[in-house]
Symmetry: C2
């Protein structure tokens, strides 16, 4: 049965039928339900490409995936949880890590092809070209993270600045004075916010900032290990570490052990935790103190806010900043006597 | 400009133009190139939904993602690497973990909606309902893993049986006699193959199989830790572990340390490694001996084989079994004297 014929039997326009089947709630719940029931009863199976052509809706939200993002699965799982009941797909477009030119071309293609109704972008910079382009292209988008770009845009972010300020302040409260920060990739907003939180905690005590105690890089066990080893060779060495991720923390633990020191006694560690089901801070030895925020929850909420964008909520109203918890466990303790 | 008009200017049929733009290589390279160049020159921007309706091609490969799969990013990154240059999308459909009914409904929807041209399925069972259904639906599919289902199907798998047989044999060569296996989820083909490899290694020496030395479960640090702790309480306790994943191995290392024993001296460990960029066997302390196979390479090859399916290579010809390397590092050593 063709769309036209099916619509005629229901006494509705093909456009209304297509909209009812396309997953976005612009048709009344009653009509959506009736169309769905009649489709089953009459054996009508819509070709989604026809539906999309009629409605101008793709029924998909696009996300761009870099190559080395172990965090990606968690965010996607969260999106999936929210979109499960909506019959809306997630379209994943690959780009090489940090290839901004390729990513920009990709958005242009997505915008003109009608493949997605909206996109979610990650890890923005303060002045992010992607935001300017997406705004120009007129494609609805949500930023996971923040940017200082003038263009109005919807965003969801966690309070990275506050998280690292609190973590650093807590270590200062414990008497630590040389605290090393193993931060994320340079130039990204969340990295800058974390750097800022670190400096603020020092400033609040009138302590000087020592650039030799901060490094930037990807969130891997290897970079965590190398950075921590290099810090531990300094004299005097740091007595505490703030690590950017759980993987970084694994490397820090390893480095501390490798020089015969004990985490939680000689060296305190606080790491940021995105809450992974397969690797938990509670289970590390000693258990790891963390600033904690669920990437999965952020994925679910990002999907939700994107749906709100698509049903007309203005982007300028969609600004969510999530606080980050500080969870103290065994990896943090008083600074050792000098 | 509409498709019809653009095609007319090129002296081609709209179908040929659409095919040339749809990403699959059924139109000659020369024509594809000409169409692409003319599209740029004349400012023709195809609406992908129109192209799809004309060609009957979705320009997307579907994958189903469970909720707790940290390995997923690696496989996807591999697919992405292969599809990057093809202008073919990856459509990710979420399902709750182990909800077979939901997954089957999803494939039915994908098949009738025309959203994807093919799907890739993961972690099959020996008698997998998904394979029967996909075959019935007539949607091209590739199985990542293996099944004993009678229905002909394309697959790519690694030699799980051989990998665990070699790992276990090596531990037996080192004099270990009580070797514990922390395997994957029960009932999946790869888990059964690994169980089989473990038993074969014992049989080859005429050693008895002790079911108390094998557990099954998800690949998490927590399950690795709990299983290893429970094994270490046995008397006599095992002197070696074969762990199903890197996360499992993290838990095993922790458990061994927690009872005051030393990995590589008191207890040997070999784990299966999918080759993650953020957590490497070389970097563990002691460095971890592994059976190694790249999930990223499997993702890239799976995408490639799926494209071959779509250009007419028979599913019955697409059967690839990859050998698994055994990489010996510091976590394995001679069995301690009894």
């Amino acid at each position: 049965m063709k769309l036209k014929e099916f619509a005629k039997q229901l006494g509705l326009s093909p456009t209304t039928v297509s909209r009812a089947l396309s997953g976005y709630p612009e048709v009344s719940e009653k009509t959506r339900k009736r169309v769905a029931e009649e489709a089953v009863r009459l054996g009508y199976r819509p070709n989604i490409n026809a539906v999309r052509l009629v409605t101008g809706r793709a029924g998909a939200i696009g996300v761009v995936m870099g190559r080395n993002e172990f965090q990606f699965s968690e965010f996607m799982s969260g999106m999936a949880e929210r979109l499960d009941s909506e019959d809306i797909d997630i379209l994943v477009s690959p780009v090489a890590d940090h290839d901004m030119k390729a990513e920009l071309q990709l958005y242009s293609r997505l915008a003109t092809s009608g493949r997605v109704d909206a996109v979610i972008i990650h890890s923005p910079k303060p002045n992010d070209e992607r935001i300017l382009l997406l705004h120009k292209l007129g494609i609805p988008f949500l930023v996971h993270g923040r940017s200082e770009t003038n263009v109005p845009h919807a965003w969801l972010d966690i309070d990275n600045e506050g998280a690292i300020r609190r973590a650093t302040s807590h270590l200062l409260d414990l008497g630590h004075r040389r605290i090393a920060l193993i931060n994320g990739r340079d130039g990204l907003t969340f990295t800058l916010h974390r750097d800022k939180g670190y400096r603020e905690a020092l400033e609040q005590r009138g302590l000087p900032f020592d650039p030799r105690l901060v490094t930037h890089g990807q969130f891997t066990d290897e970079i965590g290990f190398r950075s921590a080893r290099s810090f531990l060779e300094q004299s005097p060495r740091p007595t505490a570490f703030v690590a950017g991720s759980m993987m970084t923390a694994l490397g820090v633990y390893r480095a501390v052990r490798s020089v015969g020191l004990v985490v939680g006694k000689d060296i305190s560690v606080i790491a940021h935790d995105d809450v992974f089901p397969y690797l938990t801070a509670d289970n590390m030895v000693p258990s790891l103190s963390t600033s904690r925020s669920s990437l999965r929850a952020a994925g679910a909420r990002s999907a939700d806010l994107t749906l709100q964008l698509l049903t007309g909520r203005p982007a300028t109203e969609i600004h969510e900043l999530w606080p980050v918890e500080l969870i103290l466990r065994e990896s943090t303790g008083p600074a050792p006597e000098a």
